[in-house]
Structure formats: structure tokens, C-alpha cells
């Protein structure tokens, strides 16, 4: 077995080692089959190391934790303050600013588009002085670790296409998600866990999440994201049925292995070896996955740092801690989804609530990784699929208002994994509507993410329908300005 670099190293009394496996049915194996099994290691490696075998060059990040804020967090209420909007609150959005940008059908037919100032106060934080909304007090404490990007842009104006774009580089269904590309390119680091894990916050309404967001597209299906659920079975049918304990399953597998060894002798088909290995891996996963989800070995201070929610399985806080535990165990791409950032109305309360659910745990995750020396090679990303309009959707009332979707600029932050901490990249205009400098398209973001993982985004390709596809389609520039020297 390959050493597991970051594994906590429990021992499973029932785990079948290579030696005992061979020993157990050594009698039944013919010479060819034995020889096959002995060379299986290299065979397995070829499968597991991905098509690239190793990163192209200069990998800064070994893994990614992507905190996806689904719905479109409002940049001017969180990270990119625009005092001008408060000054001109209620005035019409000037046509010279909008410049014909298409609007969604939700506000596109409004006869008036009044500018709306943020209801939140901003303060500068850390040495770097990132301005942050008063609703992000915990994020403020790790401000110096954050690389803010204020100039993200996309083409999509509705959630489905926009999330699909962020995750797959195309607005329309059918392309592989980022994590699937990485699994395909770099393979699996820990044999006992999937290389691409998805966690969604439980019990959130908001825009629906769909499996396509972590789909394998045209890549082989083993590269699709495996969504861990918060319930009894983190993955489909992980647990043995009631009444079947681990010993019973072990005995059944031992005999099944014997049947397969005979079958291998009879058929001389490598698929049979693969099957034996898959079943054993599944057996190990029945341990390794619950182990990830079990926080009993975490210290009280760590648990406290993530906030009270960490005790609720499926909460954003609990998922952040699961993400750290997965990262420790060598899972390459861990994606959290936290829906509910779609403030078409009731923005003040909505954002307050969203921040309450995510602020503390997001900051705790960054600090926790840093304390463990893992932030160096773990890239953390926090952001959504588009931004929000500087004008009000519907009625601008004294009490509250909402903002529609805005593709032309939005903010996200990254930390660790080779990005420059404490910098702000890109600039939006005083209206918070257009990008003034250093625009970062979704394809550029993907190219940069791949670069940080040591992958040349132009060279990780998959041939499908006669064409070499890549995550970045035929686009994507690496954003050099955010890379740490």
C-alpha cells in the first residue's frame, strides 16, 4: 500500500493487508494470477496517479477547500464598500454606468432602478487594511491571510448557469467540474477516501443545488464528486445493513475473495483483480469515512473556534471542520456549498443571517489550517457565482430592500496555497457596477487555481467528441498578480 502522508493512522483489525490477502488464498492461485497480483501495485498506481502522474511544475497547493457561497453574496455589503451608493441612495442608476448590460427578467422590466447604499458599516482590518463589513467580525481577524479579488466577472445572470460556469467553465450542463478535472489529472492521494468530496449545508433553503455542479461530465464517472451527507450514510449505502457487523462482512468478503481468486484463475481477467481491490477499498472506507465525520478526537479549543454550530452535523461549521479533516487525510478537492446568498429582498436581515452562519467557521478554518502548518499548501476559496446589483430590485423602502444578480463584478477571497496574503486585486468603479482594473474572468480564476496546483491548464485535456476539452475551454489567463513569489 502507498503510504498515506497525512493519515491519522488508525488500525483496523479487519483490514486486509496485501500480505494476508495473498496468504489467505495463496493455495488457490495459479502462477499467472499470483504474478499478476504481485505486479498489481504498479497497475494500481497508474490508475490512481491520474493522467498527469505528477503536477506539471511548481505546485504551491496540494489541495483545495472551496467554500462555495451559493446565491451570489453581495460584494458591496461584504468586501467592496461603495460610499457613493450611500451618498446617491435612491437616485436612478445612470445609463452611462449600466452601458446596456442585460438584466434578469426579475428587475429588467422595472421602470426605475434606484441605487442603494449598503446598510452595513465598514472598517479596515489587519496590517493590510482590508475593508470588511461589520457583519464579518471573525473574518476580520484573519484579514492578513486573505487575498481579496474584487474584479471577478462572468457572463451568466442566473444561478443555474452561473454556478455551472464557476464549477465547470461552461454555463451549460455536460462539462466536468473543477474537482473532477483534478481527480482526472492528479488522481487519488488517499486510497481510502475519494479524491473529490462535496459537503452541503443541511437544511438551507435558497436556490437548489444540483448534482451537475460536481459531475464528471464526459470524464470517467469515478472522477465525479462524492457528496458526503450528514446523516447515517455519508455516502450511498456506506453502512452495512442492520444485523450485519464488521466481522460478518469480513467473513463474507473473505469467502468472496476466494471465489474471485478462483474466477481469476479461470478467466485470467484483470477486471477481477480490480473487483477484489474495489471491495476491499469499500471495506476500508466503511471505517475511514465515519472516522472523518467523528470529531471526538478534536480538542475543545478547536471545536470552540468553529463556533457552537460545529456540534450540529451538516451545519456549515461542522462541514468546515470535516473539510479540514479530509484535507489532512489527503483529499484533494473539498467543496462546501452554503446556499442562501440570494438577497433579492430583505437584504439586511438576509446577509446578517448568512454571515452569522459562515463568518466564524470560515475564519476558524483558515486559522486552524495555519496552526497546523497546512495553510501553506492548502488553498481556501470563499465566494459565489456572481455579484449583486448596486441598485434595488423592487421597492427601495426606508426599512429594507434587495439586490438583483450582477455578473459584471463580484468579490471572492482566497487564502493559503500559494496566493499572496493581505492583498486586494482588481478594482471596481465608485458605483460598484463595472470593473476598473484587472478583471478576472471565471476562466482566469480556473487557470490560476490549476496553476497553483501545478497544472498547466492548457495541457490538462480530455479528448471527447473529437475535441480536446479543458476546464478553461480555449480561454484563461493566470492571474500573476495574486501569486506569491
Amino acid at each position: 500500500m502507498k503510504p498515506l502522508p497525512l493519515c491519522t493512522g488508525f488500525t483496523d483489525p479487519y483490514a486486509l493487508t496485501r500480505r494476508s490477502f495473498l496468504h489467505q488464498f495463496g493455495m488457490g492461485l495459479g502462477g499467472i494470477a499470483l504474478a499478476d497480483l504481485l505486479t498489481r501495485e504498479s497497475h494500481a498506481k497508474a490508475l490512481d496517479r491520474g493522467v498527469l502522474g505528477a503536477p506539471h511544475a511548481g505546485a504551491k497547493a496540494k489541495r483545495v477547500i472551496y467554500l462555495f457561497m451559493s446565491g451570489g453574496p453581495s460584494q458591496m455589503d461584504l468586501f467592496d464598500p461603495k460610499p457613493l451608493l450611500n451618498e446617491r441612495h435612491g437616485e436612478e442608476l445612470p445609463a452611462s454606468v449600466r452601458m446596456g448590460q442585460r438584466l434578469t427578467g426579475m428587475s429588467g422590466n422595472q421602470s426605475s432602478l434606484p441605487l442603494a447604499g449598503s446598510p452595513f458599516a465598514f472598517q479596515r482590518h489587519g496590517q493590510c487594511g482590508h475593508p470588511l463589513s461589520e457583519r464579518l467580525p471573525h473574518t476580520a481577524t484573519v484579514a492578513d491571510d486573505l487575498c481579496m479579488v474584487h474584479s471577478m466577472y462572468t457572463e451568466a445572470i442566473n444561478h443555474g448557469p452561473a454556478v455551472t460556469m464557476m464549477q465547470t467553465g461552461s454555463q451549460f450542463p455536460g462539462r466536468p467540474a473543477i474537482g473532477a478535472w483534478l481527480s482526472y489529472g492528479l488522481g487519488i492521494e488517499n486510497d481510502n477516501l475519494p479524491s473529490y468530496v462535496v459537503l452541503t449545508t443541511k437544511g438551507k433553503g435558497g436556490q437548489p443545488l444540483v448534482g451537475r455542479y460536481w459531475g464528471n461530465g464526459f470524464l470517467p464517472s469515478r472522477h465525479q464528486g462524492v457528496r458526503f451527507r450528514s446523516g447515517k450514510d455519508p455516502v450511498l449505502y456506506l453502512n452495512n445493513p442492520d444485523g450485519i457487523d464488521r466481522a460478518s462482512r469480513r467473513k463474507m468478503l473473505d469467502r468472496l475473495n476466494e471465489l474471485h481468486a478462483l474466477q481469476l484463475e479461470e478467466e485470467a481477467d484483470r477486471e477481477i483483480e480490480a473487483r477484489i481491490e474495489q471491495y476491499e477499498l469499500a471495506f476500508r472506507m466503511q471505517r475511514s469515512i465515519p472516522d472523518v465525520m467523528d470529531f471526538s478526537d478534536e480538542s475543545a479549543s478547536v471545536l470552540n473556534s468553529y463556533g457552537d454550530d460545529v456540534k450540529k452535523p451538516g451545519s456549515f461549521a461542522a462541514n468546515c471542520l470535516v473539510a479540514r479533516r479530509l484535507a489532512e487525510r489527503g483529499v484533494r478537492f473539498i467543496q462546501l456549498y452554503h446556499p442562501g446568498w440570494d438577497q433579492h429582498g430583505g437584504l439586511r436581515g438576509g446577509i446578517t443571517n448568512q454571515c452569522r452562519e459562515t463568518d466564524q467557521a470560515s475564519a476558524a478554518l483558515v486559522r486552524d489550517l495555519k496552526n497546523r502548518g497546512m495553510l501553506e499548501d492548502t488553498l481556501v476559496i470563499w465566494g459565489g457565482e456572481f455579484g449583486r446589483t448596486n441598485y434595488c430590485q423592487g421597492k427601495l423602502t426606508a426599512k429594507d430592500f434587495g439586490r438583483d444578480h450582477h455578473p459584471k463584478c463580484y468579490s471572492l477571497w482566497m487564502a493559503g496555497g500559494g496566493v499572496r496574503p493581505g492583498i486586494a486585486y482588481g478594482k471596481t468603479d465608485p458605483f460598484g457596477y463595472n470593473i476598473e482594473e484587472n478583471g478576472v474572468h471565471v476562466h482566469d480564476f480556473h487557470a490560476t487555481l490549476m496553476h497553483l496546483l501545478g497544472i498547466d491548464h492548457e495541457r490538462l485535456t480530455f479528448r471527447y467528441q473529437g475535441r480536446r476539452f479543458r476546464l478553461t475551454d480555449v480561454h484563461g489567463k493566470i492571474i500573476k498578480g495574486i501569486l506569491r513569489a
Partner: protein, 1003 residues
């Protein structure tokens, strides 16, 4: 053997793309298609290929004449092409290093030799028309059963190999039974087959299986992937939709052995066939199975374009084996399909009256649709329709009654005064109108008028009319400008979010449009004034509907005179109520453009269609007559209401129905829906045979073109897909791409022979299938010899049968069938077995029969597909798929061993066998093994099974509670008379065999 055929002479080199590096040593003649085109296509065409817009240095290499600029035939040394691929100057090197493409030494050698040999070009193999192919002679015909084998054996003999012997009989019956019915043979069927020593035994078996109704289910299962079938709409909101009647048509079509050209034609264009039958129209649902959108705020045109594009791509993948997608945004980089030609194909699929979004607020089926009436409904409807017509005729010649003028008024609002946010209704003080202060009162036509903000409605409390109810609305209005679109007033919940269900008066390019709508635009009646109404001037408008649900029953009157109108839509077959927004609202609608700055004065609503004399009075002050003549319409209204109610009760399904005039289609720059460039009309790409000049330029013409025997692709693509279905991999390894970048056929003559034969047989699919499964190529053993393994590990040359895992459906259905739990009946609504409760968006599973139907009927939700099916490599069915990638993952083990469906099936089988065998463990294990693998266990296997059973028995004896618990899995009743520990132990063994190689693999 055809000496002229380019593939036969040389086989040392197969597919330059994957045999390079080992084989290009001998200098045998180059074959352009086999050796050179793949290199040029993959390495050069991107910049020097069919795409004119992106072509570099004005050089194209996909056509010989143009390529001669850089080729000197016969003189490699003088050819610039070679110079550029060999140069050490990075500036000049081709392909340029920046493209991250690179030629291998072998590829360069091929190019050199090709130029030396005169640089001949050749037409791409897949675009050549089909011809009769002679069956090759073989040296050893001992294993040749039919022409397929001759083609395969011929190839094998070139490698000094031969077809393998026939598989063991148990394997053979298992293989063919799964392949033709999707289910395993029973032990009894196996025994019968083993006992049948006649030479026809196997053919008889095949005939029996082809007659089985399960055949249609098996074949339909594969077509569901191609057709991207789903029981939900997809995208993000992904509501359920009712399209399963189409799936049942597919099963029937396969079982009836509908000729495959009809199978294609009906699905593409059944609605356009003369006197199209119900089945022919139903078949066109195929084109509507793409994902559909409802997400709030989406731009309808963006998604309408996406739907048409999906139809076009599906057409390309399923029937042409071409990657049309590539030419959506630019000319195809590899194949001779220009962007314009893409949109010319696209234009065939655009001509239906559809909306880009389905309705969020109602459950209306997106148009166009057809009613799926039951025979009883059909009869009742035709009776009622006849009676309505007869009554209309009778009424027209009857003598009218006289009634008081302007009777039937249900609302009159003068908007002279707002009190507490309300406006009095002069004819009923219980139903005042209301509005906030954003709509202001200003001097009007008569006293005050209301000036509309465009974002705030004036809500009346009347107007919830059925479509059989005649009614009239009249009002004064003034528009401040020529409105491109504005809602004057309406009775509906929303625009696109409710598909406008209700009725409405809009300003449309300054003209008035008056509509009654079930689902806009395909199920509505609508008329529009020929002229724009004047700006900044008071106009009196009346609109009425006579209860007929016909566009000629709609009237618009301007200033008391009937206005000339054009009919805009004339197809209303379902209710206009029931979608919410039950009363008239003026000036604003949810997410629509309001009547900003418009003035409205004195609005009156009548629950009858007013007489022109009454309108003349309202609109231009002509004195009223004493009485108004009206026809005694009550019986007609009753009949219409009955008919309408019945229609509303019928089920509907999305189909294709061609619009009377083709929709305008355009080349869309960069593929963007809003970047219209030149207009295009429907036609087929120039590199394929032309459409018959007399054929209509619509989907029917397209289907006729596609199924014309002269078409080079359709039959090839079809036989390749079915070859893949029964042999695990296509003769062309890229079933979705027969173009320049696709794989070359491994057995081109066989592919062509099968394709030609399919056409000769009148597209008889069962004959094709039978031909395939009767061949020795199909029947041979699957075990590889060492030589096979060493020299042909991928089994390209078919010296043995291919082995591969059974499909997701087969694996689940097998467990159900062996256990006896399978509930077999064909068709019907989708069912929700256990797995849906474990899906991404869990829903409750059913109780009873729905748990045990074949997997073909499992409820398919695009954003949360059946998780067991997905774990076993079924595609999500977002888009057309013609191949399933079978990868093994550890997650599959959980499905085999822990899925309640599998455990319950194992237990049920165990119980049945315990009943049959009692204490005889040996025969029980034998029978069990046989149900799972179709063969008897070998002695060593018997020993292991015995040990497994004993271990489990002793395990459960020590833990009787565990046995009890384990047996609780699933809903099927637990047999009381069996000893729980014994039942549990046998269940474990049965369960383990569900995960056993011989159970899940086709060998």
C-alpha cells in the same frame, strides 16, 4: 475482398493514433484516411482546417488543392510542410510550441512517406456512400457461421489467428438472454436449452427471445440515454413532467419491430406525416426531452435557443454521428461543417410554438402539446365537439331575444376619487378597486384618470371568466409614447413565470394585442390591431370574447368602431383560469413591463360580449337603442363548458407541431442567442448528399434525407450503436463521432456490409440484431489466450468475445428477477423504488409493486437521478449519450452489498430456495449459485460456498438478534415458517453472489 478498398491491403498498422512508436518501421503504402488524416486532423486542422475565420496563414490542409501550397507531391525534401515540422527554429516549428501540440517521430515519418508517395488525399471514409460489399473469402471457414464471421475471421487470419470456439452453453444462454431481454435465463430455461441438441437450438432460443415483450424494454433502456429521457425538466428547479407515454411508445415500437427508418422519421417528424396518427405525433416527444428551464428571471429567448440547439446536437449525435456542437460558435475545426450550416440545420428544429421557460406558477405542459385522450374521452369529446358545432349553426339562424342595453355590467370604475386606497365600483360597492399612491390621479377624459407608475397595479376585484364565458372590457387610455411592450391590463398571475395564463391587453410595438391564454405562445388565441394606437391622445378601447375559444371570437374596438386586426395565435384548447391572479390588474404585472406613464379612465367590465351598438355608444357617444338583440346562447355556453371541462381533464404531452410559417432563424455570432447575424433557412450541410429538390424544407424533409439509402452516415451510425450494445464496443470506437477526429472503424467492410444490409432489409432492426447474435463472433468464448492478452489486450480483433460488466438496469433487474420479486408489466408512470429515498434530493419510496418494477421504469430526476443507477454508470441524461463509460468504483460495492433492494432480493430468493431444498444445503447452494450465474458451481466453489454458509450460520447462531434485524430489511413480508438464523445465513450468501464476478459480468 474488394481490391479497391483502401483498408484491406495492410494491417500491420492499425490506427496510427494508438499503435504509434512500435509499428512504423516497414514502408508499406500509406493510406490517407487511416494514416495521415488522423495526424493532420488532430495536429493541424485546428488552425489549417475547415474553420475559415480562424485559419492561419490562409493555409488549409483539409483539401488537397489548397494544401499543395506546402506540399510537393513525390518530393518530401521540397515540401514546406515537412520543413516546418522538422525545423529546430521554434519560431517556425509546426505545430507551434505554444499550442502544446507536438508531432512524434513516427508521425513525421508517416508524413514524409505520404508525400513521397505523391501525397494523395481521399474522401473521409464515413462520408462515402454505401455500396454492396462482397463477403470475404477465408482460409479456415470452420468457425464461420455467417458473413459477420467471415469479415472478422479474414482479419484474424491476417494475424494468423482464428475465431474462438463457442462459449459454454450456460454462458451462451446467459449472454444472449441478457442481451435480448435484459434479464437472465431461469434454471429451467437453461436446462431446456442444454437438453436441446438440435442444430437449431440456439436460433430457436434467439427467436423466442426476440418475440419476448422484454425485448422492447431492453432496447428501450438504451434509447433512453440517447433520447436524454427524464421524468423531470432538469436544470435547476427540475420539476416533474409527464413524458412516460413516449417511453411506452418506444417499447412498443421495438416490440413491433417498427422499421428503423420509420423509428427515426416518426420521432423526428411524425407530426408532419400525412394524416399523422396519434403514435406518430407522440413519437415526436423525442425532440422535447431536453432540459427545460423555469428559474426566475431567466431570459426566455436564451433558453429557447438552447432547446433548439439541444435538438440539433441530439440529431447530430444520435443519427449522424457528428459533433455538430463544435460548429455552433465557429466553423467546425475538423469536419466540413460551417457555422452557417449548423444554423441551417438548427432552423429545422426551431419551428414550433414554444416558450423558453415553462410555467412556475402553473402545471401547464409547455407547448406544443397533444392531448392523450382515453378512448372514452375521445368519444365524448368528438360528440361534444359535434354538438357545439351544430348548436353554433342552429343559433346563428335563430331569432334573437331583446335585452336592456349595457346589461351584465359587473364593474365600472371612473377613478375620480381614491378613498383609503380604493376606487369605488359604481355597480357593486362590495368590489372596489385598489391601488397605492404611486399611481396618481390626474385630470382625465371624464373627471380624473389614473396615471400609472408601471411598477404598481390597480387591482380590480372582478374578472375570473372561464373561456366559455363571453365578456367585454372597455376603457379610456392614453399612452405617452410608442411602447415596445407594455401591460395595459391583464388577468393572470405573471408573464413567463405563469406562461401568461389568463387574458391580457398589451401594447406591442405600439399596437394593441388582445389574448386569452392557457400557455403562451402555443396554447392561446390572440389578435393584434393592424395599426399602432395614437400617442398622447385619449382612445376608447373595448375588447370582447364571445366564448368560442377561437381567435375570430375576439374583437378589438377603437373609439367605438371595430378595429382591423390580424390573428396572432389561434389555438386555445385548455383553461385560462386556475393559474392565480384571478382578477383584473391594470398597468403592472410580475416581472413584466408595466404601462409606465400611461393614463386609464373609466373602465367597465361586462359578463357578455357587447353588441356593436353598445360599443358605439361607449366609444363615440352614439345614443343607445331601446333594446339589444341577443341570441339565446345559454345552451351553447353549457355545451362549450362541458367540452372545455373534458379537455381540461385530459392528459397532455409535449410534442412537435410545426408552425404555419417557419420561425426566422439566424446565424448566431459566437453562438450567443442575442447576437443575430445573417438570416438562414433550413437546409442540410453541403458535404453530405443534397436533399431531394422536391422534399419539403422541414423536419419531414430532413428525416427523408436522413433515411435515404444514399445517406452515408445514418445506417453506419445505427449498426455501430447496436454492435456496441451487443459486443461492448463499437466497430467505430467513438459512436458519437464519425468525423475526422473520430476513431477509424476496426472492421470497415463489416460496418459497411451491416449498414448496407440493414437498408436492404428495409431497416429491419430485429433482423440486424439476430444476425449479430447468431454470429460466431458473438457466440465465441470470452477467455483470452496468452497470445490474445499479449498482442491484443483490448480485443480489437475479436478473436474472443468481449467481456464487460452488465448495465445498471440489468444488475438491479437480475436481483429482482432471481428473487421472484420482479413485477412485470409493460409501461406506465415511473415508479419510486428504495433508491430514490437515498438520492441527492430524497423522496419517499413507494410501497408495493412500485418497488419491484424493471429499472427502465425507475423515476428519473435529472438533478437527482436514481443513485444506484448512477453508481453503476448510468449517465445523468442531461444530454444525448450514445455510450456508457463503465468504470468500477468502491461505491459500487456498497450498492451490491448494502442496497436494501439487493438485500431484500437476496432474502426473498433465500427463502424460496430454503422452501424448495429444506435441509439439503448442497443442492440449495447449487441452485442459488445457478440463479446468480446461470451455471453450477465447480467443486472448489462448492467448498467455499459451504464454508461461507457455515460461517454465517454459526455467526448468526451466536447473534440471533442480528439475524432478526438483518431480515427486517425491505418491505416484502418475512416468511414466518423459516428459521431466522438459517434464512439470514443463506441471505448473506445470496447477497455475496450478487457481488460476484460471474453475476455482474457478461462473459
Amino acid at each position: 475482398m474488394m481490391p479497391s478498398h483502401p483498408y484491406l491491403p495492410c494491417f500491420r498498422v492499425f490506427l496510427a493514433s494508438f499503435c504509434l512508436g512500435c509499428l512504423w518501421a516497414e514502408a508499406a503504402p500509406i493510406d490517407f484516411n487511416r494514416d495521415v488524416r488522423p495526424i493532420l486532423s488532430d495536429q493541424c486542422f485546428f488552425c489549417h482546417g475547415p474553420d475559415a475565420a480562424d485559419r492561419k496563414a490562409d493555409l488549409r490542409l483539409d483539401e488537397r488543392e489548397a494544401a499543395l501550397d506546402v506540399l510537393s507531391p513525390g518530393k518530401p525534401e521540397e515540401s514546406m510542410l515537412l520543413e516546418r515540422v522538422h525545423t529546430s527554429d521554434a519560431e517556425d516549428l509546426m505545430p507551434p510550441p505554444a499550442t502544446k501540440r507536438e508531432l512524434t517521430t513516427d508521425q513525421k515519418a508517416i508524413l514524409r512517406q505520404w508525400i513521397a508517395e505523391g501525397a494523395p488525399y481521399d474522401e473521409h471514409w464515413a462520408y462515402r456512400s454505401l455500396e454492396a460489399i462482397p463477403i470475404p473469402k477465408v482460409d479456415d471457414a470452420s468457425r464461420v457461421r455467417n458473413p459477420i464471421d467471415a469479415f472478422v475471421q479474414r482479419r484474424l487470419e491476417e494475424r494468423e489467428w482464428t475465431l474462438s470456439a463457442e462459449a459454454e452453453r450456460e454462458r451462451l444462454i446467459r449472454r444472449v438472454t441478457f442481451d435480448l431481454t435484459g434479464l437472465p435465463p431461469t434454471p429451467q430455461e437453461i436446462d431446456t436449452f442444454l437438453a436441446d441438441t438440435s442444430s437449431d437450438a440456439y436460433e430457436d432460443l434467439v427467436d423466442r427471445l426476440l418475440r419476448s415483450k422484454r425485448y422492447g424494454e431492453r432496447m428501450a433502456a438504451e434509447w433512453m440515454d440517447v433520447a436524454r429521457y427524464s421524468d423531470s425538466y432538469g436544470y435547476q428547479v427540475d420539476r416533474d413532467r409527464r413524458v412516460w407515454p413516449w417511453r411506452d411508445w418506444v417499447i412498443q415500437a421495438f416490440n413491433d419491430n417498427l422499421p428503423y427508418d420509420d423509428f427515426i422519421t416518426w420521432q423526428l417528424a411524425g407530426d408532419l406525416l400525412p394524416n399523422a396518427s396519434r403514435e406518430q405525433r407522440l413519437a415526436t416527444t423525442f425532440n422535447r426531452l431536453h432540459s427545460q428551464k423555469v428559474e426566475g428571471g431567466s431570459v426566455p429567448e436564451e433558453f429557447r435557443v438552447e432547446y433548439v440547439a439541444d435538438r440539433t446536437h441530439t440529431f447530430g449525435t444520435a443519427f449522424l454521428g457528428l459533433t455538430l456542437e463544435c460548429s455552433r460558435c465557429h466553423d467546425h475545426k475538423y469536419d466540413p461543417i460551417s457555422q452557417k450550416e449548423y444554423y441551417q440545420l438548427f432552423a429545422f428544429f426551431a419551428n414550433i410554438d414554444e416558450a423558453g421557460l415553462y410555467s412556475y406558477f402553473t402545471d401547464s405542459v409547455p407547448t406544443p402539446t397533444m392531448e392523450l385522450t382515453t378512448p372514452a374521452q375521445e368519444k365524448a369529446l368528438s360528440d361534444l365537439t359535434a354538438r357545439v358545432r351544430a348548436t353554433e349553426v342552429r343559433l346563428a339562424s335563430s331569432s334573437p331575444e331583446q335585452i336592456a342595453p349595457l346589461s351584465g355590467e359587473v364593474a365600472r370604475h371612473t377613478f375620480d376619487q381614491r378613498e383609503g386606497g380604493t376606487f369605488v365600483n359604481a355597480v357593486d360597492d362590495q368590489t372596489p378597486a385598489s391601488s397605492n399612491n404611486a399611481n396618481t390621479l390626474v385630470p382625465g377624459k371624464e373627471g380624473q384618470a389614473i396615471r400609472l407608475s408601471g411598477d404598481d397595479p390597480v387591482n380590480l376585484k372582478v374578472g375570473n371568466f372561464k373561456r366559455s364565458q363571453p365578456f367585454t372590457v372597455s376603457w379610456w387610455m392614453q399612452t405617452p409614447d410608442v411602447k415596445e411592450r407594455a401591460v395595459v391590463w391583464h388577468r393572470s398571475r405573471a408573464w413567463t413565470d405563469a406562461a401568461s395564463r389568463g387574458y391580457e391587453v398589451l401594447l406591442d410595438q405600439g399596437r394593441l394585442r388582445w389574448s386569452l391564454i392557457h400557455f403562451w405562445p402555443g396554447n392561446a388565441i390572440s389578435v393584434r390591431t393592424v395599426h399602432a394606437i395614437p400617442v398622447n391622445e385619449w382612445v376608447h378601447v373595448s375588447v370582447s370574447h364571445d366564448g368560442s375559444s377561437r381567435a375570430d371570437g375576439l374583437r378589438i374596438y377603437l373609439n367605438g368602431r371595430e378595429a382591423p386586426v390580424e390573428i396572432y395565435r389561434d389555438h386555445l384548447t385548455r383553461q385560462i383560469k386556475g393559474g392565480g391572479g384571478d382578477t383584473i390588474a391594470i398597468g403592472e404585472r410580475f416581472r413584466d413591463r408595466g404601462f409606465t406613464g400611461g393614463l386609464i379612465d373609466t373602465m367597465r367590465v361586462f359578463d357578455r360580449a357587447l353588441h356593436p351598438d353598445e360599443i358605439a355608444h361607449l366609444g363615440r357617444g352614439i345614443p343607445l337603442p331601446k333594446a339589444i338583440p341577443v341570441l339565446a346562447e345559454a345552451p351553447l355556453r353549457d355545451l362549450r363548458e362541458k367540452r372545455d371541462t373534458l379537455l381540461d381533464q385530459t392528459e397532455e404531452i409535449m410534442i412537435m407541431r410545426e408552425t404555419p410559417t417557419p420561425r426566422e432563424s439566424y446565424l448566431l455570432s459566437r453562438g450567443a442567442y442575442d447576437a443575430r447575424a445573417e438570416p438562414v433557412t433550413a437546409t442540410t450541410p453541403a458535404f453530405l448528399p443534397p436533399m431531394d429538390a422536391s422534399a419539403p424544407r422541414n423536419r419531414l424533409g430532413l428525416a427523408r434525407w436522413l433515411t435515404d439509402p444514399a445517406h452515408p452516415l445514418t445506417a453506419r451510425v445505427t449498426v455501430n450503436r447496436y454492435w456496441q450494445l451487443f459486443f461492448g464496443k463499437g466497430l467505430v470506437g467513438t459512436p458519437e463521432d464519425f468525423g475526422s477526429q473520430g476513431s477509424l472503424p476496426t472492421h470497415p467492410e463489416l460496418l459497411d456490409w451491416l449498414a448496407y444490409q440493414l437498408i436492404q432489409d428495409g431497416w429491419d432492426l430485429k433482423a440486424l440484431v439476430k444476425r449479430m447474435v447468431l454470429s460466431q463472433t458473438y457466440r465465441q468464448r470470452s477467455q483470452a489466450t496468452e497470445a490474445h492478452q499479449a498482442k491484443d489486450p483490448e480485443n480489437v480483433w475479436l478473436a474472443r468475445a468481449r467481456r464487460y460488466r452488465l448495465s445498471a438496469e440489468m444488475i438491479r433487474d437480475n436481483a429482482l428477477y432471481a428473487s421472484g420479486l420482479l413485477v412485470e408489466h409493460i409501461g406506465g408512470p415511473p415508479v419510486k423504488p428504495y433508491e430514490v429515498a437515498a438520492s441527492f434530493k430524497p423522496v419517499d419510496h413507494e410501497k408495493g409493486d412500485g418497488l419491484y418494477r424493471r429499472s427502465l421504469y425507475t423515476y428519473w430526476k435529472r438533478t437527482s437521478p436514481a443513485p444506484v443507477m448512477i453508481a453503476l454508470n448510468a449517465p445523468k441524461r442531461d444530454v444525448c449519450k450514445v455510450e456508457r463509460a463503465m468504470t468500477a468504483t468502491p461505491l459500487q460495492a456498497f450498492v451490491y452489498m448494502n442496497d436494501p433492494q439487493a438485500i431484500e432480493a437476496a432474502r426473498t430468493l433465500a427463502a424460496r430456495l430454503l422452501d424448495a431444498h429444506g435441509d439439503s444445503n448442497a443442492t440449495l447452494m447449487d441452485d442459488l449459485f445457478r440463479w446468480m450465474t446461470s451455471r453450477h458451481p465447480r467443486p472448489e466453489e462448492q467448498r467455499i460456498l459451504k464454508q461461507m454458509l457455515e460461517e454465517q450460520l454459526s455467526h448468526f447462531r451466536d447473534r440471533p438478534k442480528d439475524a432478526q434485524q438483518y431480515l427486517q430489511t425491505g418491505e416484502a413480508p418475512l416468511p414466518e415458517h423459516l428459521e431466522p438464523t438459517q434464512l439470514a445465513a443463506v441471505t448473506v450468501v445470496a447477497n455475496s453472489l450478487l457481488a460476484f464476478d460471474d453475476c455482474v459480468m457478461k462473459r
